[in-house]
């Protein structure tokens, strides 16, 4: 189990800071190297100013300024090396953070997913695991190191300027604090808009995916042309929303630009008048002028990384929210499974979904060990809910489920799952070969077992595929017909050697011949196993001993298959 975040006393930024704290050595190195590089700028400016002074004021020959120029070049070289180290350490810190967060987030979501508590569509979750995690980069590799530099370098430079011309230092001192002040002021406003923009981005992703997946349907109904103009409209909306954010976001850049450019300009004018009065040597005046733009540079960089920070924080917020979802109230039991085909009993079990999906209320149901029991009833009667509760995907709100007398809550979930083969209505296939998909549930199955399972599930069509078991499948089983997918999923269930088999409409989409074959296979499979099959199809019901009929989330009655079929034909006759 991945541990859940404690949300009570943390905000997304605090969480992110804590994650970054683990990488402190790398981050401190990045900031330290950056600070040394910043100090070297002062030295470089002094050397250049001194060279200019000697040429302009003392009419020095070139030979006299060559050592100065060479020393300046050497300073630059050292500065270059320190800059490189600083950047590399920041990149390493970012890489480490992204890997760790992504792994944790993905595992957490996969854990929560089956219980349905994430309550989100797949596309935004995928967005969060991919794009949002990548988006954390700006915070750690740019914002955090820049924050240290923005505090250290300007202070150091101002002290040097103070040593030569206090009036210029005063200009710097007064203009600099405005920069973070306005930045924060404007930043607060745009943060809210920025969040909205992320939501829009996510919706834009889901919207396009939906349209493209539905393209065949759009074409059938001549709706594709109309949707193209919808794409244009939604994109335009996205542009308006983004520009609204940027108009404000760029205001902080404007503020920075204004104070740093104006500050430099005023320093130039102030220094100019001091020089005119003869109170200041040119070398000091030029030094101050060279330093002024560099004084504002770390503050400007901090301003730029402030946007990176906001982007990272919006991403962090989404990640944080998912990481801090409440734990699934999944089963935590440890008892071993009682031997033999499981005999299952539902005792006044209630489970409701939120919204307009059904559920079950106060359900009592017996599924004798070794029996084939069918669940029948209208769609929405709660048949699938019963199956989900039985296999342990959901946990009852009240009531209990027992297996051979033991409460499901006490059983080890791992042991329970290992004894189940489940074939849902829409079986899952990943992008890989037929073999890989078959072996998903039991990677160690032998070639012979695979062949037997394929034969048992009437999935012999695999042999006729051009590459047989090695035929690649697209995601979602693309390349196979609906019936073929179903039979492949059945083969996977056969391979599981489970003692409980749960099938949700196993023969839907199969023709009569196949339905019969699958029926025979089911009969073979049922030997020594407990089988629960959701179906209202006559051919399937003939196989079962008992039919549990459900209406509106309640059990209407349990009867023999013959009685049930009689009743159906009776109502049909009426």
């Amino acid at each position: 189990m991945t541990e859940r975040l404690n949300t009570a006393e943390t905000t997304p930024e605090q969480w992110l800071k804590k994650e970054c704290l683990a990488l402190r050595p790398l981050l401190l190195q990045a900031a330290g190297f950056g600070a040394v590089a910043g100090f070297l700028i002062v030295l470089q400016a002094r050397l250049l100013a001194s060279g200019c002074h000697q040429v302009i004021m003392e009419k020095a020959p070139v030979a006299r300024i060559v050592p100065l120029a060479a020393f300046a070049a050497l300073t630059v070289l050292v500065r270059t090396i320190f800059t490189l180290f600083a950047e590399r350490q920041a990149a390493a810190a970012s890489a480490s953070l992204k890997s760790r967060v992504r792994s944790r987030l993905y595992r957490r979501l996969q854990e929560l997913g089956p219980a349905g508590t994430v309550g989100e569509e797949a596309a935004p979750l995928v967005e969060t695991v991919t794009t949002a995690v990548d988006g954390l980069d700006g915070y750690i590799s740019r914002f955090l190191p820049q924050m240290v530099l923005a505090a250290a370098i300007p202070l150091c430079m101002m002290l040097f300027v103070l040593g030569v011309e206090w009036r210029a230092a005063l200009v710097l001192l007064f203009s600099a604090p405005f920069i973070p002040f306005f930045m924060i002021l404007i930043g607060k406003g745009s943060e809210a808009i920025h969040r909205r923009q992320w939501e829009q981005l996510s919706r834009m992703a889901g919207y396009l995916l939906d349209l493209i997946q539905g393209l065949p349907d759009l074409r059938m109904f001549q709706a594709a042309k109309r949707e193209a103009s919808e794409v244009a409209r939604v994109s335009a909306e996205y542009r308006h929303a983004t520009m609204a954010v940027l108009r404000i976001a760029f205001l902080s850049a404007l503020t920075l630009e204004f104070f740093s450019t104006m500050g430099t300009a005023i320093v130039a004018v102030v220094v100019g008048f001091r020089l005119l009065s003869g109170a200041l040597p040119l070398v000091d005046g030029l030094f101050v002028l060279f330093i002024a733009p560099e004084f504002y540079l770390p503050l400007r960089n901090l301003g730029l990384s402030h946007h990176a920070r906001m982007q990272s924080l919006t991403a962090a917020e989404r990640i944080f929210r998912l990481l801090s979802l409440p734990d699934v109230s999944g089963y935590q039991g440890t008892s071993a499974l009682p031997p033999g085909p499981p005999s299952i009993r539902f005792q006044s079990v209630t489970f409701r979904y939120g919204g307009n999906r059904g559920g079950i209320t106060e359900l009592d149901l017996d599924i004798p060990g070794g029996s084939i029991t069918a669940l029948a009833g209208e769609s929405g009667a709660g048949k699938t809910t019963v199956a989900r509760l039985l296999v342990g995907l959901s946990r009852p709100e009240s009531g209990r489920i027992t297996v051979n007398g033991a409460d499901l809550a006490d059983l080890s979930p791992r042991a329970w799952h290992a004894s189940i083969a489940w074939v849902p209505q829409k079986p899952f296939f990943f992008k890989g070969t037929v073999r890989e998909n078959l072996l998903l549930g039991c990677p160690s199955a032998s070639e012979e077992e695979i062949q037997t399972a394929l034969a048992d599930a009437s999935a012999d069509f695999v042999e006729r595929l051009p590459l047989g078991l090695e035929t690649p499948l697209g995601g979602g089983g693309a390349g196979l017909s609906g019936g073929e997918q179903r039979r492949l999923a059945l083969a996977r269930a056969f391979l599981r050697q489970a003692s409980l088999v749960v099938l949700d409409e196993p023969t839907a989409g199969l023709d009569a011949a196949n339905e019969e074959m699958v029926g025979n296979a089911l009969r073979r499979l049922a030997k020594g196993r407990t089988v629960l099959v959701i179906s209202h199809r006559e051919e399937t019901l003939r196989l079962v001993q008992r039919v549990a009929v459900m209406t509106g989330g309640r059990l209407q009655g349990v009867m023999t298959a013959a009685d049930f079929l009689d009743r159906v034909s009776l109502t049909e006759a009426v």
Partner: protein, 546 residues
């Protein structure tokens, strides 16, 4: 480069915004260089005048310095807004272009790409295109213009200084980006590919979470996600390191340029070809020109990744059309009789799904088609819809369907496909997708005939209930009936229903069959089914061979 030219030409309607961004970017850099040059010259002149105790008219330069500072600030802001506006407008154009290109490719070409990947490609690739103008084209063009102008100015002051400045700028703006670009090509392509792979894995993992969980394969999937994530992060770190190199090398060039200006300018002053005050101007001006270079180095580094993304998009968008419309389509025949003779179709070479299939449907006749799964029933529907090309003959009213305009042909048909797609919107919108002009009465009737009325009436939000992604919020049977209502509301003369009662319980099935019997009277109807309850709908049952 060809990819970029193609992008720009696709978005050519936005040329005014694009050139506007570049012009404003150039002015912002130019104004700053002038500001710094005037400041340097002003300070040196004031110092010379101070020592000589002479007069100096400081009014004009002091005012110019302050005005230039204001221009610079406003220009940058405008440049940012205009270039982002240009980018977003380009992106909108490209999205629409791509959607229109993908439309005729569905489903025959599109299905060959993984479901998650098509959307992932589309979104992330189109969005990464924002780099093409903002971080590639604009900085390069702006940078080249600014550097050209700056060199002309320095050349006017001193030739040696101009040559040395030109060489450091050349290394910084041309050589470094080229080297950086070359170095980042491979990791950039790798990162784009891994990113798509990661997206696929995560999509699979979330969509199949339940089964992976029960099959005990969740850990395996998580380990795979971690492995690809590590690779992606490593590729991204390599890109960041390359960019660190390029950044540091720029520091070296700018600093070296300063030292070179001092030497060249110092010599020129000594020879009397340069005014002493102009040396300070030269040194500080040279430093200011590097503002144009910084973004340029980054620009060419973005190039490979962006090109890889766009090449992927083009590969998808330029796929050959699975079914081409005839150059001069024949008029739609009045008769709705369908005649299929010797129809052959294969998805893969040598594996025929349909091989010499015959079927005659008279106008107004209702035929049920039964047969084992995989015998090509759904393929036949796709062929009738002209989603796939065919061999043999398929005629509507005596006219070969490949001679008709496909869209006009589809207008004549209302279809319930084997796997209908429910859009992530309300029940109402999903049904109205079949016919935008339908009025309330038609909608009511479609609901009624699809056996949905009672269910919808029982929902708190009624028709405005959302169906969720891929119809996940409604049951399979409900989703199918929504799709059936969508087909019925279209009210076309030809009706093709693939398993219309699949997933329905017996009572609903009886109701729907009775309604359909009424509704389909007089239409040409093809029902693909294997449910005996549906057979009374048909005048004739045709069995398809395996």
């Amino acid at each position: 480069m060809r990819a970029i030219r193609r992008i720009l030409s696709l978005a050519r309607q936005q040329w005014l915004w694009m050139t506007g961004g570049i012009a404003l970017g150039f002015s912002a850099i130019a104004v700053n260089c002038i500001l710094m040059a005037v400041s340097g010259w002003f300070i040196a002149s004031m110092a010379i005048a101070g020592v000589a105790k002479s007069e100096f008219d400081y009014f004009f330069p002091a005012a110019a310095i302050r005005i230039l500072a204001i221009f610079r600030t406003a220009g940058r802001y405008a440049e940012r807004l205009v270039s982002h506006e240009a980018t977003l407008r380009m992106l909108a154009d490209l999205r629409v272009w791509l959607f229109k290109r993908l439309e005729p490719l569905a489903p025959a070409v599109l299905e060959k790409y993984a479901g998650g990947d098509v959307a992932g490609r589309l979104r992330s690739d189109v969005d990464s295109l924002e780099n093409v103008y903002l971080r590639v084209v604009a900085p390069i063009v702006t940078g080249l213009l600014a550097i050209g102008a700056a060199l002309l100015f320095v050349f006017y002051l001193d030739t040696v200084a101009a040559l040395s400045l030109a060489s450091v700028l050349f290394i910084s703006a041309m050589v470094l980006p080229a080297v950086t670009g070359r170095l980042s090509r491979q990791p950039g392509e790798e990162a784009a590919e891994l990113s798509g792979k990661l997206r696929n894995l995560a999509t699979d993992g979330f969509q199949g979470a339940e089964e992976l969980f029960l099959l005990g394969a969740a850990e395996r999937q998580a380990a795979e996600v971690e492995r690809v994530s590590e690779q992606l992060v490593a590729a991204q770190e390599r890109l960041a390191r390359i960019s660190a190199w390029s950044l540091s090398a720029n520091v070296l060039c700018a600093g070296g340029g300063g030292a070179a200006m001092l030497l060249a300018g110092g010599a020129a002053v000594r020879h009397g070809t340069l005014a002493p005050a102009a040396l300070a101007m030269l040194v500080i001006f040279a430093a200011a020109t590097f503002e144009a270079v910084g973004p340029m180095a980054g620009a060419l580094q973005h190039l490979p990744a962006a090109t890889a993304n766009f090449d992927r998009l083009l590969e998808l968008a330029d796929s050959a059309l699975p079914v081409a419309d005839p150059p001069s389509p024949k008029a739609l025949p009045a008769s709705k009789e369908i005649s299929i003779r010797d129809l052959r179709f294969a998805y893969q070479e040598g594996k025929k799904v349909l091989d010499g299939f015959h079927l005659e449907l008279a106008q107004g006749e209702r035929v049920a088609l039964v047969g084992p799964s995989g015998c090509g029933k759904s393929t036949l529907v796709d062929v009738l819809l002209r989603f796939r090309d065919y061999q043999g003959s398929v005629c509507l009213g005596g006219v070969e369907v490949r001679d008709l305009a496909a869209d006009e042909l589809r207008r004549e048909m209302a279809v319930l496909p084997q796997r209908p797609h429910l859009f992530n919107t309300t029940i109402r919108e999903n049904i109205l997708a079949g016919n935008r002009e339908a009025d309330a009465a038609q909608l009511e009737r479609a609901l009624e005939d699809a056996g949905l009325s009672n269910w919808v009436a029982g929902l708190p939000a009624g028709l405005d209930t959302p169906v969720g992604e891929g119809g996940g919020e409604v049951s399979g049977g409900e989703g199918r009936r929504i799709a059936l209502a969508r087909a019925l509301i279209k009210d076309a003369p030809i009706l093709i229903l693939d398993e219309p009662t699949e997933g329905m319980d017996a009572a609903t099935e009886r109701l729907v069959v009775a309604r359909l019997a009424e509704r389909t009277a007089g239409k040409t109807v093809l029902i693909v089914t294997h449910r005996p309850a549906c057979l009374p709908l048909a005048d004739r049952v045709v069995r398809m061979p395996a």
